[in-house]
């Protein structure tokens, strides 16, 4: 087990180094003068240029610059935003809970609907129900979610006036951030109206972001269940006279869940991708929207720091999934 853990841990080091290389050379590949890119100023005069050259350390050899960059990154210094002059890490940390809250809600939505739907499709294999579930899930998988979001706004917000169009909470509420998750913070504050407002704001973005993972989870659950249902121990359980429901939920589902859990975990990275689009559509104040805005403002330090931070998050989640999988399924450790 320790060996397995150490191998997995050692594998993320080269990946992390690779990501720092991507982030480091990113700014240098932007057309134009790197000083002006980093300072966010145009037409810098000669004296200021040499001064900034020293400040950013761009007069040193590239390898030394990279070494300095790595040193700073490891100390948590990811530079400052050109626009707000706030440290990139601090901005990221203040926005990240919004993205996590959205991503977790979306995953929950996908799992709560996707797993039962997948089980149903597997048990009723080749029936109308099975084809229906698989058809809907392939549609969800093919869905351009930026359009899906607009469509839901069109129906729920414009047509029926049920949900708000954008943001996380109505402007009249101010909730002191404790966890950064508005649903929890409003609950802790005991403000029922604010909680409802936060929940109503969350519903559409959650559905939009959860649609792709929902399709993947349903398909995966179905195929995992089909595989398990064909095993000998299922036949044995049935032959013992156990009820169909018990065989499906206890004997089959527990074994099928192993692969489903892995897929769910690996969808987290996909969720961050989808969050960029979802946050843009709903003006959800998370890191995805932050990074898109950074591109519009040519705020390269934010872009550089953001990609490294998001990449590291995905990497850590994948590692966690990998290790968990190793714990629940000892066969893959070797």
């Amino acid at each position: 087990m320790l060996r397995f853990l150490l191998t997995r841990l050692s594998l993320i080091i080269p990946t992390f180094i690779g990501m720092t290389l991507v982030a480091f050379f990113l700014i240098r590949m932007v057309p134009g003068d790197p000083i002006e890119t980093l300072a966010g100023e145009r037409g810098i005069d000669e004296a200021r240029h040499t001064e900034l050259l020293k400040v950013y350390g761009l007069d040193r050899p590239v390898m030394v610059q990279y070494g300095i960059y790595i040193g700073r990154v490891l100390q948590g210094d990811l530079g400052t935003s050109i626009i707000t002059h706030a440290p990139v890490l601090q901005e990221f940390m203040s926005l990240f809970p919004a993205t996590i809250e959205l991503a977790l809600a979306a995953m929950l939505f996908a799992v709560i609907i996707g797993i039962p739907a997948g089980i149903l499709a597997a048990v009723k294999r080749n029936t109308f129900l099975d084809h229906g579930v698989m058809g809907v899930s392939l549609t969800g998988y093919s869905m351009p979610i930026f359009w899906w979001g607009l469509l839901l706004i069109l129906l729920f917000s414009v047509q029926w006036d049920l949900t708000p169009v954008s943001g996380r909470i109505a402007v009249e509420y101010f909730i002191e951030p404790v966890t950064g998750f508005l649903l929890i913070d409003t609950w802790l504050a005991g403000d029922r109206d604010a909680f409802w407002s936060a929940l109503k704001h969350l519903i559409l973005p959650m559905i939009v972001l959860g649609t792709n993972p929902l399709a993947v989870v349903a398909r995966m659950t179905r195929s995992a269940m089909l595989e398990v249902l064909g095993e000998d121990y299922i036949r044995t359980a049935r032959a013992k006279g156990l009820s169909g429901l018990r065989v499906v939920t206890v004997h089959a589902l527990r074994n099928a869940l192993i692969s489903v859990v892995t897929v769910v975990g690996l969808q987290i990275g996909v969720l961050f991708t989808g969050a960029i689009l979802t946050e843009t559509i709903f003006s959800w104040p998370g890191v995805g929207k932050w990074m898109i805005e950074a591109i519009g403002r040519r705020d390269y330090p934010v872009l550089q720091g953001g990609i490294l931070l998001l990449g590291s998050m995905v990497m850590l989640v994948n590692l966690l999934v990998d290790v968990t999988y190793g714990i629940i399924n000892p066969r893959i450790r070797s």
Binding site: P14, T15, G18, M19, V22, L26, M29, V30, P31, G135, L138, T139, Y141, S142, M143, P144, F146, W147, W148, L150, L151, I153, L154, V158, G269, V270, F272, T273, G274, I276, L277, T280, M291, I292, I295, L303, I307, L310, G311, V314, M315, N318
Partner: protein
């Protein structure tokens, strides 16, 4: 012994014939194929089918609803947008762009991915480790984010968007090819070819590669759908094809501000993306099932 004489009359089916039998028994796959062919025809004959040119503006008819709604006109079946362009004509012309995006991205990533995967799986060693590590890094970064960053550096535009999407999907082709090559390399026919004095290039390209094509074809057909989807997402974010291009994602970005007033300018471009992507996914799923011997009854 009787079975032996029976076997005499048995003639094996032609492989293509057998493939088609499996493929055509899957209704979804056939539906996908039909839609893909229809989109191809629309794209090929767009100037003759579309009632108007895609960028023809007519200020007198802006935001006309679809023909079946009150105020609609049969001259504009799916209505017009904010500056009086016919939406149906733009969608038909947009099919050209979407198919071109799919083909260019997949061709780029298949060619580069196959060469990288083939050399990695054939030579192994340091080269393989280096290539696969780089692919791991690309896979670790959220794909749309990486594409966005690449476009942010290269500058917005259709060409750069296609390039970015091709880079992002590259690891899938490298991994598939490498895995297939490694499996094939231990086969007897490879050893036999080597004994006959076949060189590296000959072994790689004319012996091993043709036997690895099935998974690549499947991945490519599924890849077209994700390429169309990703490029449309970039267009929607303003980083892909630029207005007034009738690219479907770009049309949606233009239409966003009218979501409260004119549902049709928002609905139809997205529907076009969904139908096309769904068709390619159905087709890809059907191809995979037809190729995969394990699923054959």
């Amino acid at each position: 012994m009787t079975t032996l004489t029976d076997d005499h009359s048995f003639t094996p089916q032609h492989p293509l014939r057998e493939f088609w039998d499996y493929f055509s028994s899957n209704h979804g796959a056939v539906a996908g194929l039909v839609i893909v062919l229809a989109v191809l025809l629309l794209a090929a004959f767009a100037p003759w089918i579309a009632p108007y040119a895609p960028n023809d503006t007519d200020p007198s008819v802006f935001l006309v609803p679809p023909a079946w709604q009150i105020g609609g006109s049969s001259a504009y079946l799916l209505g017009t947008d904010a500056i009086g362009r016919d939406i149906l004509s733009r969608l038909i012309h947009g099919a050209r762009l979407s198919l071109a995006i799919g083909l260019v991205v997949v061709t780029l990533s298949v060619v580069i991915g196959t060469i990288l995967g083939l050399t990695a799986g054939y030579f192994r060693g340091v080269f393989e480790v280096a290539v696969m590590r780089i692919m791991d890094i690309i896979l670790t970064l959220p794909s749309l984010l990486l594409a966005i960053v690449i476009v942010a550096i290269l500058g917005p535009g259709l060409m750069n968007a296609m390039l970015a999407v091709a880079v992002v999907v590259l690891p899938h082709y490298v991994r598939i090819t490498r895995a297939a090559v490694i499996a094939e390399m231990s086969r007897d026919y490879v050893t036999a070819a080597r004994m006959n004095g076949a060189g590296h290039l000959r072994l790689m390209f004319s012996e091993v590669l043709p036997n690895c094509t099935a998974p690549l074809i499947v991945q490519a057909s599924l890849g077209i759908s994700s390429a169309i989807l990703d490029a449309a997402a970039l267009g929607f974010l303003g980083l892909g094809a630029q207005p007034p291009s009738p690219e479907w994602g770009t049309m949606l970005a233009d239409a966003r501000e009218f979501v409260l007033r004119a549902w049709w300018v928002v609905t139809f471009p997205g529907l076009a993306i969904l139908i096309t992507v769904l068709a390619f996914n159905l087709l890809g799923d059907g191809l995979r099932d037809a190729f995969d011997p394990k699923l054959k009854r």
